[in-house]
């Protein structure tokens, strides 16, 4: 097996400010100040949407990068959280809708997603490596068909509409600026949690299992349990993204969790790069920008060719996505600056 997507896991003993480095701090400030410069459209449709899909990509990156398990079912996990919000909270489809307050519905939805993720993980870790991608694809499709056919819980092909983000502390959280900050906050939280988790004992164990499961088993680690728990954690991130997604769209239907969407998440994670948690966010930004503005540039008709080619080039030229591309270019840039010196 050669699923070697070694992820950064440098441990260091610096204090946290040093560890962050100026780059991340500047980025954080820029992201926090972004609403001052951006229009409402850019704030939600580009900013918020990219952050949501970045989180979905992140939950995939964490499984693939640290655990060596490439999952195509992350959108399914998010979808379960989204459906749970529609069912437990309010919707205007006249089906279910228990009217739970958001602070009760959200934890339940995220937990449901994480449990579903653990279940998917448990099924797919029975096999190894490249099988995972096939099995998760099949599970994602099965869930899609089930949601489409089932009216009692999923309201069939139409799904649920009229799901509103909560209003509390006098803020309507679906208004552009609050919603952007909500997405940003969730994304930063997930990002930090994964950075921290990767350096924890558990994170190191999972990475060691990725590199050599047999040795870890011999050392007395419960390999399956570790992997399934990694799926559970990825499910938490995916579920949170699902909650934001359903508030963003105001609706959820089988189309939200279809095969296309599943592959979109994979594209995002791969284009961005599976080596570092920032990758999926980069990938999401690139894909969302292309998706939104392709109709103005190449025409919507051939959008998929464009994104497919970009994807192919990335996989061929730089297996580590845009991040890897940067790593490749960087030495040349430094060379250049040396030459142009006095």
């Amino acid at each position: 097996m050669s699923l070697t997507l070694a992820a950064d896991s440098t441990t260091s003993q610096q204090n946290w400010l040093e560890k962050l480095g100026p780059g991340q701090i500047i980025l954080a400030v820029a992201l926090a100040l972004y609403p001052l410069a951006a229009s409402d459209f850019f704030l939600t449709q580009i900013g918020g949407y990219s952050l949501i899909f970045g989180m979905l990509g992140l939950s995939l990156m964490m499984l693939a990068g640290y655990g060596g398990m490439v999952s195509l079912a992350q959108i399914t996990v998010a979808g379960i959280a989204a459906y749970a919000i529609a069912i437990l909270g309010n919707n205007n489809s006249n089906i279910l809708g228990f009217g739970w307050p958001w602070w009760l519905a959200v934890p339940f939805a995220v937990l449901a997603a994480a449990l579903a993720s653990a279940l998917i993980g448990w099924i797919s870790v029975r096999t190894e490596g490249i099988y995972t991608i096939m099995i998760t694809l099949a599970i994602a499709t099965a869930t899609y068909y089930f949601a489409q056919q089932n009216y009692a819980i999923f309201n069939g092909h139409s799904g649920y509409t009229g799901i509103r983000a909560p209003v509390f502390w006098g803020v309507n959280w679906r208004d552009p600026r609050p919603f952007y900050y909500l997405c940003l906050g969730s994304a930063v939280l997930s990002y930090a949690a994964i950075l921290y988790g990767a350096r924890s004992t558990f994170g190191m164990t999972v990475q060691a299992i990725r590199d050599n499961p047999r040795r870890m088993r011999a050392l007395g680690y419960h390999v399956t349990a570790h992997k399934v728990f990694a799926w559970f954690l990825a499910g938490l991130v995916g579920g949170l993204a699902g909650v934001l997604l359903v508030w963003f769209n105001g609706r959820v239907s089988p189309g939200t969790i279809g095969v296309d969407a599943a592959i979109d998440v994979l594209i995002i994670a791969v284009i961005g790069g599976l080596r570092h948690p920032i990758g999926p966010f980069l990938g999401a930004l690139v894909v969302v920008l292309m998706q939104t503005f392709a109709i103005d540039i190449v025409g919507a008709e051939r959008f998929n060719t464009l994104i497919g080619l970009v994807f192919l080039v990335i996989v061929f030229v730089s297996p580590d996505g845009i991040l890897g591309l940067w790593e490749k270019i960087k030495p040349h840039l430094t060379q250049e600056s040396l030459r142009s010196g006095p």
């Binding site: 029975r126 490249i130 099988y131 991608i133 099995i135 694809l137 099949a138 099965a142 056919q149 192919l312």
Partner: protein, 333 residues
């Protein structure tokens, strides 16, 4: 009575029990439970013939995986491209057989090109190979949409394959005593026959020829095969040609039975995935068993519980994975 004879007798009895509902005239209570005999027998026949089509697609997929550890997620695109090419050739030449041959040959060439120009460069890196195949399938689907638009095409089958065959199966008895026999489309039986012929052919190729021996050796230990002086790349190219060609062939055959439209690529990719996961990756016999299970489940589900019939195939997959992760005929690795 020897042990063998005893088993033979048991088998004969089982066959008789299986055959009874097919040939006997059903009592009313059975008709009431299973809608009608016509519906039941048709579902079984359709399941078996659909399995033939699934087997054609999945055998190429499993062959390629077995030897090269290459999960080619563009396999569905090969099916669809074969179908479109078959349509164009049949339409222009007016001869359906030319279309079938063109579908096979064109896709065999495409398959070799994919192996030589794409997958060989990424050898040993199965994840990247799989990702590349996803990329290819996205681009291919969009380009095919550009060329053939979103319309639905039907490949015209020749006269001699058209029409319905009357089978010696009585579905009902009219009040005047006349028996109503089951009619069944001839073409679907031909698809099944083609699948069986090709299945047997593949088996013979794998077990009776030199190339087949190399392929089997490669499945078991690729490095050792290479070390013993065999040109592995040539073997890989041959297998890819056969696998992709079979997908193209299935495209033309399936496109004549059903129809050709965007989205069929994903449909047949998923069918192949489920078939080989259930049957066991890399095993031709497994593909046949998997195809039969999935084909029957799909058709019976469609008639008796249409709402969740489509989910049934995936349930079979999950159950298989839970009980036997390597698939029914798969070898544990």
């Amino acid at each position: 009575m020897t042990r063998g004879q005893a088993w033979g007798l048991v088998g004969l009895l089982a066959a008789a029990v299986m055959a009874w509902p097919v040939f006997a005239v059903w009592p009313d209570w059975l008709n009431a439970i299973l809608i009608s005999k016509k519906a039941f027998v048709s579902a079984i026949l359709n399941g078996i013939t659909l399995a033939g089509l699934y087997f054609l697609v999945a055998s190429g997929f499993t062959l390629i995986f077995g030897l090269m550890r290459n999960v080619n997620l563009a396999h569905g695109s090969l099916y669809l491209l074969g179908a479109y090419i078959g349509y164009e050739v049949t339409n222009r030449t007016g001869n359906w057989l030319f279309g079938v041959v063109a579908g096979f040959v064109a896709l065999a060439i495409v398959g070799v090109a994919m192996q030589v120009f794409v997958f060989r460069r990424l050898e040993g890196d199965d994840l990247r190979q799989t990702l590349v195949s996803i990329g290819i399938s996205i681009v291919a689907a969009d380009l095919m949409l550009a060329v053939w638009a979103g319309g639905t095409y039907q490949i015209a089958t020749p006269e001699w394959l058209d029409g319905a065959l009357t089978l010696p199966i009585i579905t009902a008895v009219r009040s005047n005593g006349a028996s109503v026999f089951l009619t069944y489309p001839l073409y679907r039986l031909v698809v099944l026959a083609a699948a069986i012929v090709i299945g047997v052919g593949l088996w013979l190729m794998l077990h009776r020829t030199r190339v087949g021996m190399m392929i089997r050796a490669g499945v078991d230990d690729r490095a050792m095969l290479q070390a013993s002086g065999v040109n592995v790349h040539a073997v890989f190219a041959i297998v890819f040609a056969v696998g992709a060609g079979l997908a193209g062939f299935a495209g033309v055959v399936g496109g004549s039975a059903l129809s050709v439209a965007p989205g069929e690529d994903v449909r047949y990719l998923l069918a192949s995935l489920v078939v080989v996961i259930v049957g066991g990756m890399g095993s031709i016999t497994g593909a046949a068993i998997g195809a039969l299970l999935i084909g029957l489940a799909e058709q019976i589900g469609l008639v008796y519980f249409p709402t969740y019939g489509i989910v049934l195939t995936f349930v079979i997959m999950v159950v298989t994975l839970a009980l036997r992760p390597q698939g029914i005929m798969g070898k544990a690795r």
